[in-house]
Every structure is written in C-alpha cells, then in structure tokens.
C-alpha cells in the first residue's frame, strides 16, 4: 500500500501536471501515507487517547506557529 502510494507520487512528479494540481495531489498522498504509518504501525488508532492528543498537539502547534512566522517574513509553506 505504502509502496504503491510512493510509486504513484513519483509517477505524478514526472507527469506534466500544473503545479497547483501536483502540489495538492502530492500533499494529499503523503498525508495519507503519514496517516497510515501513524494510525496502524504506531497503533495510535487503537491505543490510549492521551497519546494521540499529545502527538497531534505537537504537530498542530508546529504547523500553526511556523505558518504564522513564515507568513510575516514573506515565506510560503509550499
């Protein structure tokens, strides 16, 4: 499953898509991979809620603060 997604991603990279479509698709696919690993490999789906709260908290915090920080100095996330 993960292998297939990676293959699709690389294939997409070589297709002549518009940049926005490419970015969108790639982000969606890697988010899917991310979720697969986290939820099943790391058992977050079946484990204590506390763990997912902590981990998601960390991710959300990181994305949130750096989105704001970059936007004030003219950077872009993607």
């Amino acid at each position: 499953m993960l292998a297939i997604i990676t293959a699709v991603e690389v294939a997409l990279y070589y297709l002549d898509l518009s940049r926005n479509a490419l970015v969108g698709l790639l982000l969606a696919l890697s988010a899917l991979k991310f979720a697969l690993v986290v939820l099943w490999f790391m058992h977050l789906r079946f484990d204590n809620r506390l763990f997912s709260t902590l981990f998601v908290g960390g991710i959300v915090l990181a994305i949130g603060i750096f989105t704001v920080a970059l936007s004030t100095v003219g950077g872009k996330l993607v």
Partner: protein, 207 residues
C-alpha cells in the same frame, strides 16, 4: 506497575518525546521552506553559489537541470518505508513470543535503515562533487542540515536496533519485554514519517 492514567511510564515518555520532536523537525523544515523561494535564479553558467534548483524545472521554455536524483531518492524512501513494515513484523513476532522471528525482522529493519543512511551518504557525496556544500548557498545550508539531522536520527535508530539485537542474542528479550521493541518501533516509525514529509516537501514539490 499501575499508573494513574493506566499507560506505561516509558511509553508515555516516548510519545512526549515524539511530540517534542515535531517541533524540532518543524523548525528545521520551516527554515528550509523560508529560504527555498529565494534561490530561484536560473542557473546559467552552472555556478552553484548564485543559484541551484533542488529539482528539474522549466523556465520560459528552457529546461534547467536540478540537483536531485529523484529515482534514486525514491528508492531510498521506499527502503525506509519497508523498514517500518519489518519493524511492525518484529513487534508482532515478539508479542506472539517468537523470539527468532523477532530477531530476523529486527535485523531486516536495522539493515534497511543502514541502507538508507548509506544512500544518504552517497547522495551527499554526489552533491558535494557537483559543488554543493554547506557554504555554497541557502539551499546547501538548509538542505544538508535538515536531511543531515534526519539521517542522524536514523543512525541513532539503527544503533538502538543493533543494541536490541545484541541484547536479545543474550536472551534478554522475551515476550514480556516486548515494550522495548515497541518503543524502538515508535521511534523508528516517527523517523519514517518525518522522511515522508521531507521527501514530499523537499524533493517532489518544486519551489
């Protein structure tokens, strides 16, 4: 030991550590993203200090060659993903009490991890030969430091896995000790998902 929340101390520690690592890699990635828009000058004479494209791209009909070797790195990424699969199998084996299978899968995981690190060392050497160093430009600076820190994490993971292998060869890891493998696995998977993010944001998405 009974705990107030019912979860094991060490496992809680590991998740806290991973949550904290999100900020660590978040900071590194943010620095890369801030600067990636700033090295978009076309490479006319191959002078890497004024330009460099992470990836191939076309500007006004002219094709410029990027520095990334996407097929090679895709294979590396695949290797790391597969090591996550073998890590899951190692944990499943020890939870069933099958120490031998656990050792085989643990070794597979460590070997795949080492292969990934080797691939990264090869990639760094190639880039270095093409003239891209830490000093060359912002791309060199941010790229090497970000992927280098990730590589260091993988290396530490490989060391941990080998230590566990040695430990288990002395008969110290039984089904009741599966938590050790689980914790190593959590760390390993985390390093893997960080690579998923890096691979997509840095290698596949063009500036």
């Amino acid at each position: 030991m009974a705990t107030s929340t019912g979860v094991d101390n060490r496992k809680l520690f590991m998740w806290l550590f991973l949550a904290s690592e999100c900020l660590f890699f978040g900071s590194l990635i943010a620095a890369y993203l801030l600067y990636r828009g700033q090295h978009g000058v076309p490479c006319m004479d191959g002078d890497l200090s004024t330009c460099v494209f992470p990836t191939d791209r076309t500007i006004n009909g002219v094709e410029y060659e990027g520095i990334f070797d996407i097929p090679f790195t895709s294979v590396s990424a695949f290797v790391l993903l597969m090591s996550s699969v073998s890590m899951v199998l190692a944990l499943a084996a020890i939870q069933r009490g099958n120490v031998r299978a656990m050792r085989i899968w643990l070794f597979t995981t460590a070997a795949l991890g080492a292969l990934f690190v080797g691939g990264q060392a090869f990639e760094f050497t190639e880039f270095y030969r093409e003239g891209l160093t830490l000093e060359t430009n912002l791309f060199g600076t941010t790229f090497y430091v970000l992927t280098g820190f990730h590589g260091a994490h993988v290396t530490i993971g490989v060391l941990v896995l080998f230590s566990l292998l040695i430990w288990s060869s002395r008969g110290k890891i039984q089904a009741k000790d599966s938590l050790n493998i689980e914790l190593a696995g959590l760390y390993w998977h985390f390093v893997d998902i960080v690579w998923i993010v890096i691979f997509t944001l840095i290698y596949l998405i063009q500036p």
